[in-house]
Symmetry: C2
Subunit: 266 residues, 2 copies
């Protein structure tokens, strides 16, 4: 069981920020990643559709008998974590949302936390609910930033248009006196520099991909499931579609050459 892989899925390639964070936290674990690139994005879709996709994605990973399943997709974490839990028997499940919410709730000093994400994540108020479950005194202020994903995927990391859009999206939320800002979408770490510059040095950024990697290390350590291997390996990549830009995006997200990718049918 200890030698089993860590399974991680996302609606597309965004979850690779999670893979990168896991590699940093747990360099010797085998990772199997499924990106539902044929049906990405989940964010703007309805809850019924998102829940069906979450079930498909879990089934895909279960074929590889993972020792833990990580939901790298904020939308699924927000709207369908129970579907994932129901679809994978006794395998533990952790998601970016709960992990990010916990790190933020533990870190805030003035009990004012900002959350940015896709429209679906923000509308669901899932971060607010998760944070308030941990500490009902925390006020959570959210803002949808729908253009951040396409800007990240276009590689407009440091573009004046990205700065303008970030300034507009983040204007209200930074006026609210928050001391912590959760990047509630896996793509956003790609734009972390612009976001940090926009909100200024007094607001601590919580990257939910990093948060879920810490949480995974914690869960595997507690349950004695850490690998005994001392050899790092490239992640095993499954995608439901192989878009033209995939290799460029892989490099953008992972900062390394793309390994072989397996095309699968959902």
């Amino acid at each position: 069981m200890n030698q089993s892989p860590i399974g991680i899925f996302d609606s597309g390639i965004g979850g690779l920020t999670g893979v990168k964070a896991i590699q940093a936290a747990l360099p010797f674990e085998r990772i199997i990643y499924f990106g539902d690139t044929a049906r990405v994005p989940y964010g703007p879709k309805s809850q019924v559709t998102i829940r069906k996709y979450a079930s498909d994605d879990t089934a895909m990973l279960m074929r590889y008998q993972p020792k833990i399943i990580i939901v790298a997709c904020n939308t699924v974490s927000a709207l369908a974590l129970d579907v994932v839990e129901k679809s994978c028997g006794n395998v533990p499940v952790t998601g970016v949302l709960k992990a990010g919410a916990r790190l933020a709730a533990e870190g805030t000093r003035n009990n004012r936390i900002g959350v940015i994400g896709t429209q679906a994540t923000v509308s669901s108020n899932a971060y607010g609910l998760a944070i308030n479950q941990l500490n009902p005194d925390i006020e959570v202020i959210s803002q949808a930033c729908p253009l951040f994903v396409p800007l990240a995927e276009e590689g407009f990391i440091d573009h004046p248009a990205t700065k303008l859009i970030a300034a507009q999206y983040l204007a209200e939320i930074t006026k609210e006196g928050i001391d912590t800002l959760v990047l509630g979408c896996t793509h956003y770490p790609i734009l972390r520099k612009v976001i940090e510059e926009t909100v200024g040095p007094d607001i601590r950024i919580i990257d939910s991909a990093e948060a879920v990697a810490f949480r995974t290390r914690e869960l595997l350590t507690q349950s004695g499931l850490l690998t005994s291997s001392m050899k790092a390996s490239a992640p095993h990549l499954l995608v439901s579609d192989l878009p033209q830009k995939f290799s460029m995006l892989y490099q953008l997200f992972m900062d390394s050459e793309m390994p072989d990718v397996e095309l699968v049918d959902v």
Copy 2:
């Protein structure tokens, strides 16, 4: 047969610019529209996946016995028009790509045409091929503008960031001495004003949604298939997912209140 509807499909809501153009050109025709909102966007996906989706979309419309099928999706027009033709028997098919290409080829005076579209449309060079089939002397210069769709859907019609991005995307293409620019993506008419301002008054804009509406009127007139009805009706809308923003987007695209929408399974 004359009273049968016009069938039109797109990967999502973008094809509504086609519906609007058809309503303007053929106000008394019944229109049935299918938007594959559960699997949008097609643009960045692979050809195999796009061709499968094209076949599904055609089958969906064929249930309603349309007298003509309009492919409002540039990606399908570029990569899978033959799939649509094969899936619909004797029903005539027309697509935004051929219609836009024809209007541009007939309109250019200096034989230099620019085409903007999604990455998939541009990479396929389908507009170039279609234009050169009509006139091999025309030079076609293309530019992918991946952020235009999300900017349009965010309603950033007149935003400074949109102007910056348009200026960057269109800088090279306008230096090429083109006299005609094809909007090779159904969303782009939403940003027509910014695009026109960016390229200047000497370049004629060809809207492929308008072009396919003209072509449809021509085809129905030639084959005696125009309706005898004198009553306008709202389009019959089918979608594979009902996203939260749908009604806002419908209004943005159609400039009218959304009629009832039917949710269908693909």
